[in-house]
């Protein structure tokens, strides 16, 4: 079939056949043209997580896009009105665009399953694995990927053992610079790049403000790449990796303040290497049992080593987010792609 995602190569190791600007998966185009509309979608955005603001922006963008394709779309917060609302409208599908906490840890999807509602994306058990950075790292290591050396330390451990002995042990094992981040959460919240040993205690305190468990990993130098993966029913396919170039860390401001960061999509990397990067993202997606869409963040070291950092089951969809950039770079019309995702494989 022309203009569709490459069926022949489900590993996604080569770029999918680009549908070209303005087109979509042909079958959905047909549905749209036929006036089928496609049904009713409820997008969940907001919630009480630290990433509420980002989630609301993602939700609004996707809602606008889906409406432009003829779908009936409701945008709803995660609040006490939600379940009665869902019960009343019984949407064809629910798309959780909640970032952080219950949006990505699988719990909302558990509830949607209890209600017998179809939803977009990964199931609850797999969400829990992906949402936990150390669990995701361990899983992808098992699938043959590399990831920076790391340790995972809960706040309670420091209470029991004292800080300095533990941090000394960390510094003896891992090489500076280090990255300290909460084991759960995104948008670089609570993340600190630690260049000197005396910065580590403060970084731990800042990290624990966002969660009870910290992941400390060696910072690796190289090209920062984000690889979005989509699966609209024909297997996971990696979109063109997006190269992130920023002065200083890729922190909250660098992510959401347009201009701070320069993006290259596709990345300025040898195509053969890019294929390996895509393979890695699809491997992460598959090994973690993810569905519909994900975004894997990696560092490509100078010697060509791909270091897995983390994966997101509800990647950001804001104006500056990486997933839409990758889709555009792949030649997709965003609205059509979102529609294909919404109408693609679901999970209950």
């Amino acid at each position: 079939m022309e203009n569709s995602i490459d069926h022949a190569n489900p590993t996604g190791s080569t770029p999918p056949v680009s549908p070209g600007p303005g087109s979509a998966r042909q079958d959905d185009e047909d549905l749209h043209r036929a006036g089928g509309g496609g049904g009713r979608v409820v997008i969940l955005a907001g919630g009480l997580s630290h990433e509420r603001d980002v989630s609301l922006r993602s939700g609004r963008r996707v809602a606008e896009s889906l409406r432009s394709t003829g779908l009936e779309v409701d945008l709803h917060d995660l609040d006490a009105d939600l379940l009665p609302f869902l019960d009343q409208v019984r949407p064809d599908v629910v798309w959780p665009l909640l970032h952080g906490a219950s949006g990505e840890d699988g719990s909302v999807r558990d509830v949607l399953g209890l209600l017998g509602l179809d939803y977009v994306g990964t199931g609850p058990r797999e969400c829990r694995a992906a949402w936990s950075k150390p669990v995701a790292k361990a899983t992808v290591i098992g699938a043959g990927l590399r990831t920076p050396e790391y340790v995972t330390l809960p706040q309670s451990l420091f209470r029991e053992l004292g800080a300095q002995p533990v941090l000394d042990a960390v510094l003896a094992r891992l090489s500076l610079p280090l990255v300290v981040k909460p084991t759960h959460g995104g948008s670089a919240l609570g993340v600190t790049l630690v260049r000197r040993a005396d910065q580590l205690p403060r970084a731990m305190v800042d990290c624990f403000a966002y969660g009870d468990v910290a992941l400390i990993e060696e910072a690796v130098e190289g090209t920062e790449l984000a690889v979005s993966v989509v699966d609209t029913g024909d297997g996971p396919v990696a979109l063109p990796p997006v190269e992130i170039v920023t002065e200083g860390p890729y922190d909250y401001d660098a992510r959401y303040n347009p201009g701070r960061t320069e993006y290259f999509a596709p990345a300025r990397i040898d195509p053969a290497v890019l294929d390996r990067v895509r393979d890695a993202a699809v491997t992460a997606h598959r090994s973690l049992g993810l569905r519909a869409l994900s975004r894997t963040d990696v560092i490509l070291e100078k010697d060509g080593t791909i270091q897995f950092l983390e994966v997101n089951v509800a990647p950001g969809m804001t104006e500056t987010s990486l997933f839409p950039q990758a889709a555009r770079a792949g030649g997709y019309d965003l609205a059509s792609l979102y529609r294909a995702i919404a109408l693609g494989p679901r999970h209950r």
Partner: protein, 440 residues
């Protein structure tokens, strides 16, 4: 070629902003802030927000106001919905004199320029007086919205300490002398004399003439920002600085805290020559303030017992202040705080070693929000303080919020003890610059 060497020919970069190279220098400091993002959560009902400075509008006689507004549009709609005077509606300017007379100000309606909230007045005053690099002297701490305006015009803010009696005249004298010695041009002294935002303190009657005398001697114009002056809990109002000095003070007033911030009406009282420039500056910025809002306020002042309404607000906010102070005493004995005699805020010093910015995500997780003290300083300090607002939540919610905050503080203290971190974070004051309206 190493296989990961960038292939620069194959792709061009984007900053997602085609105008990235076109912005003025003053726009470069504008940042996306995780602190601001956290306040998105604070607006959820599950969160007790002790952050915002929103007046409690449920106390307004909404039915009466509704009838007044309907009558206004029915009888004067073509005027209310039309462009108006750049200086402001004359009838409202006359009514504003009734309001400021309560603080001892006697002036003429021509001395008044109506603005779109007093925030626009701040912008206009700064626009006509400040060149990049000029110095504005402000209290330490100072209102976040004013700091944002000063920063946007590239002023340098120099802080002067305040204590429980407000701005410290001796410190002001020393600061101005030091600045004069180093050849710095000080244009403005910005002060919130009554029920200070965020510190909650009031400039004593005894200090007022001294502050004015020092400013006059150094040739510094005083901006008296007074949104809370009529909200003293004992019903007393101190004489405005403007009532003591017609020429050396620009008085900024507002209906946002005593009536309705949604109408966006404030005003400046200025000496003749300054007023002329303010009107021109305002016309170039907005042509004219909203006629509809101004006439609505005039109607409200005409038809409602606005003084009784303010008295009711004072009693309501006093009850909430008492709830706040009582809860702090019960739940946060290791902290210290100011006890305001009016207004909306108390200024809390955290137990040693805690950092208000770093602690905010933990607070949001615990469903309570505050404004970190760093928002109120231009120099990177203030992380040992938080501003707590008692204007909007009910007394029960205030007590619950402080109880939650105490849990957050205790957890943070434990962490700080474990890690021995009592140093401040890297100063990064821009986090709450250009505050959202609910922080005003």
């Amino acid at each position: 070629m190493n296989d990961s060497t960038p292939d620069t020919s194959s792709s061009t970069g984007t900053r997602l902003d085609p105008w990235f190279g076109a912005y003025a220098e003053r726009a470069h400091g504008m940042r996306a802030s995780e602190i601001r993002a956290l306040f998105a959560v604070a607006n959820r009902p599950e969160v007790v927000s002790l952050a915002g400075g929103m007046p409690f509008l449920d106390g307004l006689p909404l039915e009466t106001i509704s009838e007044t507004m309907a009558r206004l549009i029915a009888t004067k709609g073509t005027s209310a919905l039309q462009y108006g005077s750049g200086q402001g509606h004359e009838e409202l300017r006359e009514r504003i004199l009734d309001v400021v007379r309560l603080e001892g100000i006697e002036c003429h309606p021509d001395d008044v320029v109506v603005t779109t909230g007093s925030q626009q007045a701040l912008d206009l005053v700064t626009r006509i007086f400040i060149d990049p690099g000029d110095v504005v002297v402000a209290e330490a701490p100072s209102y976040v919205g004013a700091l944002g305006v000063f920063r946007s015009y590239q002023a340098e803010v120099v802080h002067v300490p305040l204590d429980e009696h407000g701005l410290v005249p001796e410190a002001l004298e020393t600061t101005l002398a030091d600045l004069a010695r180093t050849g710095r041009r000080v244009k403005l002294l910005y002060t919130v004399p009554n029920f200070h935002n965020p510190a909650g303190v009031t400039l004593s009657a005894e200090r007022r003439p001294r502050v004015l005398e020092i400013a006059r001697r150094y040739g510094v114009l005083v901006i008296e920002d007074n949104p809370y002056g009529l909200l003293g809990f004992d019903g007393q109002t101190l004489p405005a600085l403007r009532s003591l000095d017609d020429d050396g003070v620009l008085y900024l007033g507002s209906f946002s805290k005593t009536f309705a911030p949604g109408l966006r009406v404030g005003w400046v009282i200025a000496p003749h020559a300054v007023r002329e420039k303010l009107v021109l500056a305002s016309e170039s910025a907005i042509l004219c303030p909203s006629n509809a809002s101004q006439m609505a306020i005039s109607s409200y002042l005409d038809t409602c017992d606005w003084k009784a309404q303010i008295k009711q607000f004072r009693e309501l906010y006093r009850e909430r202040r008492d709830a706040m102070i009582g809860a702090l005493a019960e739940h946060l004995p290791a902290a210290s705080w100011t006890v305001p005699d009016g207004g909306f805020y108390t200024w809390v010093r955290l137990p040693p070693g805690l950092d208000a910015r770093s602690m905010l995500p933990r607070a949001v997780t615990a469903r309570v929000a505050y404004v970190p003290g760093t928002a109120f300083y231009a120099d990177g300090t203030g992380s040992d303080h938080v501003r707590l607002s008692f204007c909007y939540p009910t007394p029960d919610r205030i007590r619950e919020g402080v109880r939650r905050l105490s849990g957050v503080v205790n957890s943070e203290r434990e962490l700080v003890e474990i890690f021995g971190t009592d140093s401040e974070l890297d100063p990064d004051l821009t986090d709450v610059e250009n505050p959202g309206p609910d922080l005003a």
